[in-house]
Subunit: 688 residues, 2 copies
């Protein structure tokens, strides 16, 4: 006796609409039920549908996205979610049946008593899981679709209800026309995920993770898991703490005065450096979970994933010692990191997008990026470059600005060259950029536009001749729109005022439909960042003195600047840091690390002026450097951001199975939540 014979016989297949139209069920041995626990079952209808749902059923032969004309004539068993019926006539209906691989069209012929239970299929609620048996047929020519299972349909001769869907679901994921509000979708994420738009993203994410691992394994990287229960560090302003009962219940640590905590890592930076210092692993990678406790940041998640790697014995290339500077040169260490990342990115784009990226990726120094684009992550898909007017200004103006440590930037939209940005240039609102002035050149102001820009003071005094010379050098004439802004020179921070205007103009032009970014992705390395930044309120940690690390305190200086560093010219020191930028979005960054213990100690104590306790929390790293640590470097790529770009989603939430809201809450699991005081006491803590 086969499974099917034993359990799916005709008698048991008869469907009977459940009580109150809410449930679809099958006749079951209600006698037993009533006898044993009558009241309960009567009230809740516990047995409704059970007989079908929990006892053996046939095994599916194919997924719903798999069948082609090659299977025509064969008998198949499919399992999936039933989508809304399309009734063609009294005796003929079509039903789509869907699973995560695709959708198959079911054909149901009803002919009264002889159709077995097929009539009952119409009573099965949409989104129920069913198992159907039938024969594959090639569709009539005019009904064929040129994608998925569009060549075939399955003529159903039998079905089994696996699990009925509630008829009052909060929304129907199969309804493509109306997308209900985000709160409801977040709360019922398991329904929202049933939409192909989201399930396709999860599939692509898994595919990309696989490509990443294959590329890195093939390049002799080992994947190593680093601890998530780590120690709170001085950078830990945004860390999550994890109280533990360790040592409480059994052997209290001598001298232990209060509760003990682990901390979740913001990145595996220290473990991965220690791993490389150990020599156990020559090339490390990990697709690693990281954590940051901050809210209110746009499209950030408290837990996020990064593609993290680190390599021993990273080295140098020809550009490193070139005596004259040329654009597009990689003059720092970490060549192997660069090569690995470019191979990785190229392989991803090839496999997922079918695009062959140009090689190698362009390289630009921080200074060049800031000067030409006003951003350390410039979108180079559109030209619209900023001009540093320093060399074009009259010498006395140039000098007086120079004495202030300033220069004058201009961003020009010329009707002849930048038609796409013309309308946006006029309409763009720059009220929140107080240092920026906009001028549209006319006959009336063409000889006064700098002097009268409203930002001129005695130092920027230019007469008509000066203006004429500048206009010619700059190549501007009536009709041009120009933004002007004074800025510090050399540039500081992540963007200049005109860099922000440049971005805003392009965004507006895109919104207006005047400008469409090129399809081809623009990858760009930014290198030679300042190693130290003047400390500001944003960087209160690890920065007791005047200086903080621009990225992190383990980044090595460029070798050309080491002497300057020891000579106290901190602001002149460039780091061996590299950011990878895609279409104006920073998708990753890394550096060659300090491997010399003495240098690391000098940076900690003399430049960053760490306290003793801050220093001591790096004690193990300093000691590891002293035990023959190899030169090393690495990088981390934001996996969520990368997937969001590859899936063309508005938010990284759309590429994460169970994301948090922008406020850090999870409406599905209802976290975070309050915890009972008694439980907290086990950890030695209590609400304040």
């Amino acid at each position: 006796m086969t499974v099917e014979d034993a359990l799916c016989d005709g008698a048991q297949r008869r469907a009977c609409p459940g009580e109150g139209g809410q449930c679809i069920g099958f006749e079951v041995e209600r006698d037993i039920v009533k006898e044993l626990n009558g009241k309960l079952f009567e009230r809740h209808g516990y047995w409704t549908g059970i007989k079908k749902a929990v006892t053996p059923f046939p095994k599916r032969t194919h997924t719903c996205g798999e069948l082609t004309a090659a299977s025509a004539g064969s008998r198949v068993t499919l399992a999936g979610w039933l989508l809304p019926e399309r009734k063609v006539s009294k005796s003929l209906s079509f039903f789509p049946i869907k699973d995560s691989s695709g959708t198959t069209q079911l054909v149901v012929h009803r002919n009264g008593d002889e159709d077995g239970n097929l009539t009952a299929l119409s009573a099965v609620p949409v989104e129920s899981t069913v198992l159907i048996e039938g024969k594959v047929r090639v569709r009539p020519e005019k009904s064929r679709r040129n994608e998925g299972t569009g060549d075939i349909e399955v003529q159903v001769d039998n079905f089994t209800l696996l699990n009925p869907a509630d008829q009052n679901m909060p929304f129907l994921p199969s309804d493509n026309r109306t997308l209900v509000n985000e709160d409801l979708r977040a709360r019922y994420r398991y329904l929202d995920l049933r939409r192909s738009a989201l399930s396709d993203n999860l599939r692509k994410r898994s595919q990309v993770a696989r490509v990443i691992r294959n590329v890195l394994h093939d390049q002799n990287f080992l994947e190593v898991e680093t601890p998530l229960l780590l120690k709170s560090t001085p950078e830990g302003a945004r860390e999550f703490l994890v109280p533990t009962r360790v040592g409480r219940s059994t052997t209290p640590t001598p001298g232990q005065e209060g509760p003990l905590f682990y901390a979740l890592p913001q990145s595996p930076q220290q473990p991965k450096q220690l791993l490389i210092c150990s020599g156990a692993v020559d090339r490390y990678f990990q697709i690693a979970k990281c954590f940051r406790d901050e809210d209110g940041r746009k499209d950030r998640q408290p837990e996020f994933t990064q593609i993290d790697l680190e390599m021993a014995f990273v080295s140098w290339g020809q550009d490193t010692v070139a005596s004259t500077f040329q654009s597009d040169q990689w003059r720092i260490g970490g060549h192997e990191v660069r090569d690995t990342m470019e191979t990785l990115i190229q392989k991803i784009w090839q496999e997922v997008e079918g695009v062959c990226l140009p090689s190698p990726f362009k390289v630009m120094t921080y200074n060049e990026a800031m000067t030409r684009y006003g951003s350390d992550k410039p979108d180079t898909r559109y030209a619209l470059e900023i001009v540093d007017l320093a060399t074009l200004l009259p010498s006395q103006v140039r000098h007086s600005l120079g004495n202030l440590g300033e220069t004058l930037d201009a961003l020009v939209v010329r009707p002849s060259q930048s038609a796409a940005f013309l309308r946006a240039a006029q309409e763009c609102d720059i009220a929140d950029e107080p240092t920026v002035r906009r001028v549209t050149l006319t006959d009336a102001n063409i000889q006064t536009w700098v002097s009268n820009s409203g930002m001129a003071d005695a130092r920027i005094s230019m007469d008509a001749n000066d203006h004429a010379a500048l206009n010619e050098a700059l190549g501007v004439s009536c009709g041009c729109t120009i933004w002007l802004s004074r800025r510090s020179s050399p540039p500081e921070g992540g963007s200049t005022a005109l860099g922000r205007v440049r971005t805003r103009v392009a965004e507006l032009a895109q919104t207006l439909g005047d400008y469409t970014p090129s399809e081809a992705p623009h990858f760009l390395w930014i290198t030679e960042f300042p190693l130290f930044t003047r400390a500001d309120s944003d960087k209160e940690f690890l920065a007791r003195g005047r200086w903080s690390s621009s990225h992190h305190p383990f980044t090595a200086p460029m070798w050309q600047d080491i002497e300057a560093m020891y000579a106290g010219q901190v602001e002149d020191v460039r780091g061996q840091h590299y950011d990878l930028v895609l279409n104006g979005v920073e998708i990753g960054g890394g550096s060659v690390r300090v491997h010399d213990a003495a240098m690391q100690e000098y940076i900690f104590s003399q430049i960053l002026q760490l306290s003793d306790s801050e220093m001591s929390s790096f004690g193990h790293l300093l000691h590891a450097l002293k035990c023959g640590a190899p030169p090393h470097g690495g990088i981390a790529l934001g996996f969520d951001r990368l997937m969001s770009i590859l899936c063309k989603t508005q938010s990284i939430r759309d590429v994460i199975a169970f994301p948090k809201t922008s406020a850090g809450t999870d409406p599905l699991f209802k976290s975070p939540a309050a915890i009972n005081k008694d439980v907290l006491h086990q950890y030695g803590i209590e609400p304040r």
Copy 2:
């Protein structure tokens, strides 16, 4: 000018032993240093060695484990850790150079002034990282080794000191003869990891993870990351909590009365079920981090890794409906899970061990395992089976035991059959098993051994004839050693008293050298566990009534037992749970889940008698089941344990890069640690 020319010229290569014999350095521009920060550098020797370590150096051409005779004659550059010199003569030395891929023998000929800096190599501390250049030579025949780079050596003509090792390192990882104490190795894990024994384990772990992912991807599994910041659940006795600032700094949640917490998952059980319920993913897997806050358990880690998978539409096989019971039958659902796991395990053993495992794996019911081996994870590499004497005893004895819900177990070591266990049987200490009696049969006791075993009461009264019949049926004679124990029938829990004795005898026999387990691994599925267990103090959660779930509350009953469950015969209900056992170690377990919301609700409320608040924490799962959840099932494999078996290590700590001690502490990162009160206040908590 090449990098090498520019930076590694002869003049700079001159080595000079550092001050006090502590450091090895190179002459550098000390003038600059003194002028700028003289005192600091003088005191700490900051510049020592810097010039070499942080400026460009040549790129290595090979790793230290890569060269073969095929490269003879070529010039190579290697980078790695310098191991102790073997001085053959005044002018000839051998040095091994090591990296994570292997070791290469360096040959150094010193001939006074003409050898460049080679004399200085002897002054470089062991475990320093160096870069050497030289020529590959085939070794003289008598010096060849038949493994790794044993055919060649490299004649060095130049070296660069990349980073000197401190001469007072806490221990030398390259010293294979003395393994320093575990505390010291844990504190300096980055040195311990340099030992090949540990780095080989990390390499194998990465390799196995790759095999796992490839097998599962090839079977259409998607890897999906589930949240680590989840919500505390009622099972959460051993959970880690994570306080968060979410909602504190910006918009306080209305009605929020205290601090809010996430919780770290003990397993991704609920997210993975919701994922499958969503239909977004047909087959899910994840190599997932899990967390458990408990200490004092042998060889457990507070964070551990599991190979986690879940499949939609799992189905049934032929055995399911077989009318007569036969051993080795899989009579529950989840066939696809079984097939996937067997494929996975077979592939791992094939790739890593080169072993082709028999297929399919054996299957045994819980009842059979407990009766024959006294364990729900029996080691079947050795026979030594337990005998349930029920059918061999005189009927009145059998009946009176039966009335008590008991039976009498015997474990027999026969000199003729179990020579390997004979000595252990005599020496084994069973003082801590009060229900067990040991008898060695002699002429004096052969007709009284049951009655006089000390466990006999009026119910076990047997005369000489009864004994003679039993002896014959049991096949025992003088010289046999027999353990006797009364136990509950049917068996309960994870082991019986004689099961524990059986294990102990085998362990002792192995220690004594009498018994060597077979090389071939014994994989075994255990199925048909009791779905519910009488609640005891160990399972205080989710068990307000008499019953708790043997595994977890989402496990589906066997369909054959559903009616019994609804009829209140809770103790008779067997679950669709399966454990995978290897050589007596449980390496994984899983089940077919309840997908019927009404049944799940019945189990929660009627059997487990959950409170309303406990129920409500499963609200999202119950609702997901109502939205057309497919039948589904899954499994989780302990990855650390699996790797420990594959790497033949004593502890899972040896297969984890940065493990915690058995007390849950991390002597390297010094976690867990106390946290400043001010920081705690940001989370709304304080020490109690």
